[in-house]
Amino acid sequence: MQPFSYEKVTNEHEAIERARLGNATFVAGGTTLVDLMKLNVEVPAALVDINALPLNQIEDQSDGSIRIGALVRNGDLAQDSRIQSRYRVLSQAILAGASAQLRNMATTGGNLMQRTRCYYFRDPVYPCNKRQPGAGCAAMDGYNRIHAVLGVSDKCIATHPSDMAVALVALDASVHIRGANGERAVPITEFHLLPGDTPHRETVVRPGELITYVTLPSGPFGAHSAYVKLRDRASYEFALASAAVALQVEGTTVRSARVALGGVATKPWRALQAEQVLTGSTANTAAFRNAADAALTGAVSRRYNAYKIELAKRAIVRALTDALMD
């Protein structure tokens, strides 16, 4: 770990002003950042502690949406009765991640900003385009069993590790970002960037900007949603493939659907083709399998991760089946 300065800020303005000075990193729960600092992957000169900011509430809005402060802890969000009843898939996704202790520290904003678990990214011995642009990618021909099959580029195949963000994609969430010039709202599907030629750029958040809230619209998906996460062991493990789905069903017909994938893509992945296949179809296993096939169209595997394509399809089918049975 390299030496760094530490300071605490108490309001958003102060936080943004401090961050604009450069080479400063916000720290909230610290559950990813501190690990990466110990590994010398993140080497900020200054840590700006934002835990004192008043962004830790979950609030109902007049239009029926719900607003989640960026500092709401993952554990609190998952256990909130409104989230559990109206956005069940979000609660399920959060509880499928990490451990109770980590969820009690990790925040909503921090979860969106968490970085990949690619082993080559996390070990500075190996070249990594994400860590050091232009250095090359050790995962391409390395042990890439956990790596992405969707949204990949020839520069990076690292997966986005979040469970929470996958559920947010299925729920049409928006991320509110505040900078010196005011606040903007970004749809969650546009918040994370594809690696392309610039895998070091992971989100639309610019230096000096702060995530303030995540909002969830009131949607038609309260009754039928589910998160299925497949991983190498029952706890303390990231997804090999996960699916967050939400269905609006009338009789046996799917009126509308949301399908999002985790563990298989370079960003929290919305499977629009799968949603199109489902919309208007009869809700049954055949339709679910067709949707799953559509979701993985265009998947690109490497030496060790071809199994993920079938695994992700099975996760989708199981999640849709679970959602329907609720």
Binding site: R117, Y119, R122, D123, V125, G142, Y143, R145, I146, L230, D232, R233, A234, S235, Y236, E237, F238, Y304, Y307, L311, R314, V317, R318
Partner: protein
Amino acid sequence: MEAPQIGRSVHRKEGRAKVTGQALYVDDVAPAGLLHGVTVRSPTARGIIKGIHFHPTVDWDEFTIVTAADIPGVNRVKLILDDQPYLASDVVNHPEEPVLLIAHRDRARAEDARRRVTIDIEPLPAVFTIDDALARREIIWGEDNTFKRYRVNKGDVDAALAAAEIVVEGEYETGAQEQLYIEPNGMLAIADRAHGVTVWGSMQCPYYIHTALAALFGIPAQRIRVVQMETGGGFGGKEEYPSIIAGHTALLAWKSGRPVKMIYGRVEDMASTTKRHPSRTRHRTAVDRDGRLRAMDIDFIIDGGAYCTLSPVVLSRGTIHAAGPYSCPNVRVTGRAVATSAPPHGAFRGFGAPQSIFALERHMDRVAAAAGLSPEEFRRRNFISSGETLAVGQTIREPVNMPALLDRALALSHYREKRERFARENARGGKSRKGIGLASFMHGAGFTGSGEVHLRSLITVEVSREGAVRVLAASTEIGQGTNTIFSQIAADALGIDCDDIEVARPDTLDVPNSGPTVASRTCMVVGKLVETAARGIRHTLVDSGYLSVLYDREHFRAACERYVDAFGALRATSQYQPPSGVTWDDEQYVGDAYGTYAWAVYVAEVTVDLTTWETRVDDFVAVQEVGKVINPTLATGQIEGGVAQGIGWALYEDVVWREGRMANAQMTNYIMPTSMDLPSIRVYFEEVPYPNGPAGAKGIGELPMDGAAPAIFNAVADATGAHPTHLPLTPERLMSAMETIGA
């Protein structure tokens, strides 16, 4: 007289110091002037070292640098064949082989400098699989890539196979496994010509290091001192490799004249140090229409990696256990340890036996099916009993009752009822299948063959004038309970309380060589010596007239005071003597392979998810006969831990190799099970006292590693109808096993 301490779960002797953070591990110690050492390793599997380049941006004068040329004595790790160098000089034979050592007072600078050394290597062809080693396309070791061969022969296997009504063949493979002790390896050394060499560190076998350092430095053994620090787990992983780290650390200290510490990070520890030997076993088994074994032809091969190290003795244990607890008139076991261009594989709980037992017990289910019998009935008809003879010619003299262990395990697991019910429920379809399977096995305690005779283990018990008792032995506490059981054994032998016994820290300056802490020998072999020496003290006190036959703590203290005042120091030493009638012929490889065996039947219940091919162990019953149980909590912990490690080996822990290098040397990608993945492990003991163990105890540490994997595989076969043969059974492997049966 105190109430007996043996058989009670007295508290772990060093438990309070561990949970309060007072226990000192090697990385807790930092003497003034300390340097931090790092190792520069081979990037290549095999090749000729052409040169070493030091990056010009580093001021190398600030660093202590050690190469093979700096070694004062012999550049070979003293073990069996002494073929492994401490530092490669001309050639490298495996990835991560140490080539150069660097030390600096700033740990980060040392770490950074390591990356600024380039080793130029002209590659040579390498060998990465057992098949390639056997094919000898490239000879990488000796004349034929073979470290060791054994051949066990009983009866006439060929004739029996030729005459057999039913012959069943099978091939089984097991992968490497990382020990994953919580505390990575580490050593601290102070060394110079004037004072000799002292090392402190994490280890299982202080005298292995002691012997190794004397040869490395070419100085008399009495100028070497080895001290064990608190050690956070070993599982065999700290049996032989710490000799290398101790040597490296001491070489840096010797050259720099400063204390030097080397602490391995997790990645370095996983990538560079030893793992369980991968194996391949082929079985050809003849059985008659009554389900009686007629012949077993077993070909057992282990992958030893690039140097011989402990492979011959790992192979020996695996070979002897390969035919299991069965009576068969004709048995042939061919054992071979071959060389590949990987870091040497080494000691790991079970030491070859889990590999050969996995193959055997999976195969026995298939033989049972071919004979038209259930797995349990087939085994019952073939279990060995007292008076019968194992393949190596050892006649079982102790009482052994495998059918009783089997009955108890079947009853506790509701095996028959579940097997029927699962078959019914599986036939109805659904998203998952359930199954139940068993394994029956034995595990020899102590060194194989004449090993204990050669070791001639020694321990001392000494008593102060105040009546304080100290047990002096080189046997290490590595979390398994040595301190506690030695206290219990000595306490009962002396008729006093455990709290009045101190077990000395293993320090070669103080403690005699009681042998290595390996091979399930610490309780049974060394514990027996503790019992004998402590009894000797008691007899001395009684014979001297200072102690009556019945006494309490105060009488004991008074007697010690009077004895010491009259005669001086009160000490007793005990040395290993083989039990009468136990013989072994090293040349012919026949005789009493072990003084005794522990016996067991394990039952696993699993659910296989047909969507994801995940296997979950739902219930586990472990029934074993291990002689007298000294400390029920510690013994149960040993079994639970061994079963958990066996579940990891069976289902989760997959070492991925790329040209001899472990590709997943991180805890994020080498998957070990968490408590969430483990079932309740239900542990039951049958206690049949063994006359040559302390209070009747046998060895216990390795036994539970043997039974989990085959029981689980047999349960998966029961659930799915597949015939999985390759361990670990990851979802990918089960999927392909299912595809081969067209499911």
